[in-house]
């Protein structure tokens, strides 16, 4: 671990001693800059009950440059593509050196519960999400029938995601 900045050591330590709920990040045995991450699908989201594996790498320039994060588990999400790449502003131009591994993973968890279909990476998923959400807003005030419809579609959604999980 020679040459590892103090900040990375401190962050790693804190991640291990004081983990965030639903997030598990462990450094690789060979490479202290590489983390194996497991994120639990957040409550009240279509991903609830699923677990998602991610990889996180801290480049040489970290914390001046953002960490590289990728989903290893396939996921049906408008801002995450087939290869697991994530469209999240703080991983690109909105990166700030004051952000940490912890905050990045929390943002990713938040992205799971609140997708941003206006900035899609996977267009087909965004399209589907948009129509469903649209229905959801409508039904909130209208009828029970619609409610049932939205419920089944979300259920289908969840199953789909879980199915993917089991495969990978």
């Amino acid at each position: 671990m020679a040459g590892l900045p103090k900040r990375i050591l401190k962050e790693t330590q804190r991640l291990l001693t004081d983990p965030v709920q639903g997030i598990n990040a462990t450094p690789d045995e060979q490479n202290a800059r590489y983390f194996h991450v497991v994120v639990a699908g957040p409550k009240d989201s279509p991903f609830e009950g699923g677990t998602f594996k991610l990889e996180l790498f801290l480049p040489e320039e970290y914390p001046m440059a953002p960490p590289k994060v990728r989903f290893m588990t396939k996921i049906y999400h408008p801002n995450i593509d087939k290869l697991g790449r994530i469209c999240l502003d703080i991983l690109k131009d909105k990166w700030s050196p004051a952000l940490q591994i912890r905050t990045v993973l929390l943002s990713i968890q938040a992205l799971l519960s609140a997708p941003n279909p206006d900035d899609p990476l996977a267009n087909d998923v965004a399209d589907a999400w948009k129509t469903n959400e649209h229905l959801a807003i409508q039904t909130g005030e209208e009828s029970f029938l619609y409610m049932y419809f939205i419920f089944t579609s979300l259920l289908y959604f969840t199953r789909f995601c879980l199915l993917f999980n089991n495969f990978s």
Partner: protein
């Protein structure tokens, strides 16, 4: 005293510029030997401009800042940031500052309004106030720097008006990375998460210790001044560090830097009268279409719909934000339309448009005829391009001839007509070259017939002049040669002038119909 000298200098400078203008009638000097000679041109519209060396450039920048600051009485770096936000338009800034919403103005410039500044002096440690605030901040409270996660006493922490404190080594590190590897200077913001308060010049220079980084930072600031200011342009000549300041909105006239390079003020390319920049871009793109590079560019890049910067998509989603500081357009990568409708009415870029496909097929039918037309103009354009590439050789040859003439007993003054003739020849060739581009984009009408007559007149005269210049010199025809060359070059000049004036008249009165090819 120093000021008076400076004024004298400026005055002299402008005067010499005027002289140059009179000599050259605001037109360009061809690149090559003997460029001090004057070349009268056809352009009636005279552009006025001024060459600024890097020192003069920063002086000019501070002049504008001081001008505004005489009224505003704010810290100088803040005024510069405000001016950048208003594209260096003093009037616009004044108007917005006094008549508009001041807070919105400051927000847009990513600054904190002076009245809304944090009253707690422990936190506000801008560079210029460190000495005064240092005393107030001497309480032994410990802070943890969010970047390196080490704790420091307050004296070691620095922050902007936003109140986000970081330790000095982290600040230095952050600024160095931003300046050196990302080339950011004008848009440097506070390192805190989602804080966009701009770091001002004084703070940056106080924090940065490395000379290289400071130099690069200062260069970037001057560069953004030139890029954001609508009337400033860098001289595109390699190795030249000057910038040109135009005094009014330069349209299609070429300008020339004091280094001798002349270029189009709008597009920074070589002078290309009479064709407009937009059509020239189209033409050059078309001509390049065969090359592998352009193939790659065509396949992998698109142009920003607002500022036409070439963009390669290297990841992420279709929501593009132009990185050009003065553009920042948001658009969709797929359809290049503005991004806004994509957010609300969902996505129609991926739907195949049947009517578009049909029109594409129709277009293919016409393409054969279009290709022939293109080849006709392209051949002629290329011909002139090849000739202009041999300009240097031509100058050399004429130089030899002039020596020969001097040996035959003519004086140096007497033979200057030769080099003048070559200048005219090169100028005419250049203009002729671009007339074919102009003609390519023109729709047939009566004025086009006149234009074509002018063009052929100039072409014939230019070819004759070229022939005269290449003739063997025999002492018998010496006087005759001089008269012929002088007559021809005068005629060429006149024809070029007529042609350009006709084209400009057309631009003014809108009698040119352009085809959208």
């Amino acid at each position: 005293m120093a000021e008076i000298e400076e004024e004298d200098f400026m005055y002299d400078y402008e005067e010499s510029d005027d002289e140059e203008d009179e000599d050259e009638e605001g037109d360009f000097v061809s690149d090559g030997l003997l460029r001090e000679d004057s070349v009268p041109s056809g352009s009636k519209l005279k552009a006025e401009w001024q060459t600024l060396s890097p020192d003069q450039l920063s002086k000019k920048m501070f002049e504008i800042v001081d001008d505004v600051n005489a009224v505003f009485q704010l810290p100088t770096p803040h005024v510069r940031i405000l001016l950048t936000a208003c594209k260096w338009d003093k009037e616009k800034l004044m108007e917005r500052y006094y008549a508009g919403d001041q807070e919105a103005l400051f927000r847009e410039a990513h600054l904190i309004h002076p009245k809304k500044r944090n009253p707690n002096p422990v936190i506000v440690v801008r560079a210029q106030s460190t000495s005064t605030c240092g005393a107030a901040a001497s309480s032994k409270q410990e802070y943890i720097c969010d970047i390196c996660m080490m704790s420091y006493s307050t004296d070691h922490m620095m922050g902007l008006e936003c109140g986000h404190l970081f330790c000095r080594p982290c600040w230095n590190n952050y600024l160095t990375v931003m300046v050196m590897s990302q080339g950011r200077a004008q848009t440097l913001s506070c390192p805190a998460t989602s804080c966009d308060i701009v770091v001002d010049e004084a703070t940056v220079l106080e924090l940065l210790t490395d000379g290289e980084v400071r130099k690069k930072y200062q260069y970037l600031i001057t560069n953004s001044f030139v890029q954001d200011h609508p009337l400033l342009k860098w001289c595109p000549s390699p190795g030249c560090c000057n910038a040109l300041l135009a005094s009014n909105n330069v349209e299609h006239e070429p300008v020339s830097c004091s280094c001798g390079h002349s270029f189009c003020f709008k597009c920074s390319r070589d002078p290309h009268e009479p064709i407009l920049c937009t059509y020239l871009s189209k033409w050059l793109k078309k001509c390049d279409d065969d090359s592998e590079t352009s193939n790659w560019i065509h396949v992998n890049t698109k142009e920003c719909p607002k500022c036409s910067a070439t963009i390669e998509k290297n990841g992420g989603c279709n929501h593009m934000i132009c990185c050009n500081n003065s553009c920042k357009a948001e658009f969709c990568w797929v359809c290049l339309g503005p991004w806004e409708p994509h957010g609300t009415s969902w996505y129609n870029c991926n739907r195949y448009n049947e009517s578009d496909a049909k029109s594409a097929r129709d277009a293919q039918m016409g393409s054969r005829a279009a290709l022939e037309r293109y080849l006709f103009y392209c051949n002629r354009y290329m011909n002139h391009l090849r000739s202009s590439k041999m300009e240097a050789k031509l100058y050399e040859m004429v130089h030899e001839k002039m020596k020969e003439l001097q040996q035959l007993g003519m004086s140096w003054v007497e033979i200057q007509f030769m080099k003048k003739a070559v200048d005219v020849l090169c100028l005419c060739r250049q203009t002729l070259m671009y007339t074919y581009v102009f003609a390519y984009y023109l729709k047939k009408n009566n004025h086009m017939l006149i234009f074509e007559d002018n063009q052929s007149d100039l072409e014939i005269a230019t070819e004759l002049l070229s022939e005269y210049l290449e003739r063997e010199i025999t002492s018998v025809s010496l006087d005759q040669l001089k008269i012929q060359v002088q007559d021809k070059s005068k005629y060429c000049e006149a024809r070029r002038k007529v042609l350009l004036e006709h084209v400009y008249e057309g631009y003014d009165q809108d009698f040119w119909d352009f085809t959208e090819l």
